[in-house]
């Protein structure tokens, strides 16, 4: 594959805790990916709009506020409306209880990374998920 993997790191909602989002963004960049970081306070509409416009392979959403159910569902719905739900790998990180995790996987969120995850695991996940998609 010639093209670099393109990743949108998004920080939705009102929460300003961006330590994790920034660490992941810089680790993915160091791993050779093209990374776009949205900055803070993005609505699902803004995230999906940016993903489509930037033609990304992956959307990584960082949520620590507890609003994950609302936000992931909305992002998945909007991607479906755009016909992009099968094109883009949606994953995320934050504090997400196990039962919510299962519900999110049911609606098509592919990877959810909790506290203690290494950036290596995230890089590996993205490479595999994007290769599977293009294969």
């Amino acid at each position: 594959m010639d093209r670099k993997i393109r990743v949108l790191i998004a920080k939705p909602g009102l929460d300003g805790h961006d330590r994790g989002a920034k660490i992941v963004a810089s680790a993915l960049r160091d791993a050779g990916m093209e990374v776009i970081y949205t900055g803070l306070r993005q609505t699902p509409e803004m995230i999906v709009g940016a993903a489509v416009q930037e033609d990304v392979d992956v959307i990584g959403i960082s949520i620590l506020s507890g609003a994950h159910m609302t936000i992931f569902s909305r992002v998945m719905d909007l991607l479906k409306e755009q016909g992009a739900d099968l094109e883009v790998v949606v994953c995320g990180g934050g504090i997400i209880p196990t039962e919510d995790r299962e519900k999110l996987e049911d609606i098509g969120v592919r990877g959810l990374f909790g506290p203690g995850t290494t950036t290596g695991e995230i890089i590996e996940f993205i490479r595999t998920a994007v290769t599977d998609k293009t294969a």
Partner: protein, 555 residues
């Protein structure tokens, strides 16, 4: 030190190091604090060549306050045990407050939800999914009345973790006091009200820096006249550290923020001694035990010297740094969460040995959810065990004079001074924020820390060592009912139908006028909350005048 003893020590130390190197070639391996400060294997008087007991340490309750701000410290009065609490509706949090008071807590500390922190009402589009999640939802005076129902405001001190809309929460608290028949002069408490660290680390701002600084000097001025027992700003390193900074960065950036507020107050025409005694601080207690103790000691010394020598404060109360401490949320692990009880205990002990005035101990389940009642109780008990069983509160600054702790205190002090120089060179704190200086420094430190964990240069039990395979977390999690959002919407709708619209719009117009004319805005904010204008409406009125701040996304 007398020359002869210096020579003797020097000789003995050289012999020790030669023997050590011969037997143990690993001595060359580098050890550092959690922040990356190099550590010697042993500390002796030779590390304290320029140390002067009277000049650098002094005595407790005396300049430069390195050993503590009170002459009797914890023998006179223990630190305030102040657990941060807030979730769901005002009624939910009111119940938690009463629970904590019943269990021996001595002060209240309020956590607000994200919409409140950002100045939006619960029914704002951006509030979707966030109402009551990370704290209590407060939309109007009605919510505030419920929050403090049955809690006489002249009997407790209340800390409110609120920054961008701090002026509004202060007004709401004063208005609740009025309803309880308690005058503003009697109210005791603290507003966080530290907008600079919001731009630097926590990122909950509304307006650009200049109007925010104006609101802060308005609060300082208003409180000096009408709420004299109120701590107007809690200048916070906590969030800077949580965002990934080192200990020295936390110390330096927090104090630089403090100096910026002092300069703003002086520029606004106030005498430094009218507002400086009401400034307080808030630090993080991280895992590196001695580094944290050194940080608190250095902080007091730096602050008192600057206040006396640079800002020419004459009242000793302006020189002394009182601070609150919270154990490090970012040190808690989601793996084997019960281990967090120990982590929190060590961190809390460092805060006590460092002379804190109040303390919040985190609950062990906080890497997973908001704390349950059981977890909060263990956290509070941790403080009570330190206070009553360990003996740590019996003697003032018990580590003072330790070669290591004094050397590390000096290192913290020097490291902070180096940053003050760099901040000065880029034009001060606000210029540094606008240029992304602090944000870049912190992001680099956070990434370096993460790398050290992934490369196993630093070990975290349960995370990269001593893991349990296939671990299932078996603790009860606190859940926030999504119905809270809907009920909060209904209450807002109901309030807007009941109140006098004309009083609300009139008060908001007056507030905008005060803002445009650069007058003190607090009296008009107070009028607006008394008329039951909502938090979102008051912020919107000011947004129209001041605009909103946007940060360039740097990583």
């Amino acid at each position: 030190m007398a020359d002869s003893s210096h020579e003797k020590i020097s000789e003995a130390e050289q012999r020790y190091r030669r023997n050590l190197a011969a037997k143990n070639p690993k001595d060359g391996e580098s050890f550092t604090t959690i922040s990356g400060e190099p550590l010697d294997i042993l500390y002796t008087p030779l590390h304290l060549e320029n140390f002067d007991l009277v000049r650098d340490l002094g005595f407790p309750g005396e300049y430069p306050y390195t050993r503590g701000v009170r002459d009797d410290m914890y023998r006179g009065r223990l630190w305030t045990m102040r657990q941060f609490a807030g979730f769901g509706t005002a009624a939910d949090t009111n119940r938690r407050f009463k629970y904590l008071l019943k269990h021996g807590q001595t002060g209240l500390s309020t956590a607000f939800d994200m919409p409140t922190l950002m100045g939006y009402d619960s029914d704002h589009e951006l509030a979707q999914g966030e109402v009551g999640r990370c704290g209590v939802a407060i939309d109007s005076l009605e919510d505030m009345e419920i929050l403090f129902d049955g809690i006489p405001l002249d009997k407790v001190s209340t800390s409110m973790t609120i920054n961008a809309p701090a002026a509004i929460l202060l007004a709401l608290y004063i208005a609740v006091g009025e309803k309880q028949g308690i005058s503003s002069e009697q109210l005791r408490g603290t507003l966080q009200n530290d907008i600079l660290k919001e731009y630097i680390a926590q990122k909950e701002w509304i307006f650009p820096p200049k109007p925010h600084m104006k609101l802060i000097t308005d609060i300082m001025e208003f409180c000096a006249r009408h709420v004299p027992k109120w701590n107007t700003i809690s200048i916070s390193g906590y969030h800077i550290r949580e965002a990934g900074s080192t200990a020295i960065q936390e110390l330096a950036f927090t104090l630089a923020d403090g100096f910026t507020y002092v300069e703003a107050g002086i520029e606004a025409g106030m005498d430094v001694d009218t507002f400086a005694p009401r400034l307080s601080f808030f630090f993080n207690a991280h895992m590196d035990f001695f580094e944290e103790i050194a940080k608190y000691r250095a902080a007091r010394r730096i602050w008192s010297r600057a206040m006396r020598e640079k800002y020419r404060a004459k009242n000793p109360l302006s020189w002394l740094m009182r601070f609150h401490t919270q154990t490090a949320g970012c040190s808690l692990t989601a793996q084997q969460p019960e281990n967090n009880i120990m982590r929190t205990a060590f961190e809390a002990l460092s805060a006590v040995l460092g002379g804190t005035q109040s303390l919040h101990t985190n609950s062990f389940d906080e890497a997973l959810c908001l704390p349950t009642e059981k977890a909060v109780q263990i956290a509070l008990r941790t403080q009570q065990v330190i206070a009553h069983e360990t003996g740590a509160a019996s003697v003032i600054d018990p580590l003072g004079g330790s070669y290591f702790v004094e050397a590390l205190t000096d290192r913290m002090h020097q490291g902070a001074e180096e940053y003050f120089r760099r901040i000065g060179e880029i034009g001060g704190v606000i210029a540094g924020i606008e240029k992304g200086f602090f944000q870049r420094e912190i992001a680099a430190a956070a990434s370096a820390y993460q790398r050290s964990i992934e490369q196993e240069k630093r070990l975290v039990v349960g995370v990269n060592r001593h893991q349990v395979k296939g671990e299932e977390v078996e603790i009860d999690l606190l859940k926030i009912d999504p119905a809270i959002e809907k009920s909060q919407h209904e209450r807002l709708r109901d309030l807007r139908a009941r109140r006098h619209d004309r009083a609300v719009t009139g008060a908001l117009k007056n507030l905008q006028k005060a803002a445009r004319e650069h007058r003190n805005q607090i009296p008009d904010i107070l009028e607006a909350v008394r008329a039951y204008a909502t938090l979102g409406e008051i912020c919107d009125a000011l947004r129209e005048v001041y605009g909103e701040y946007r940060e360039p996304p740097i990583f």
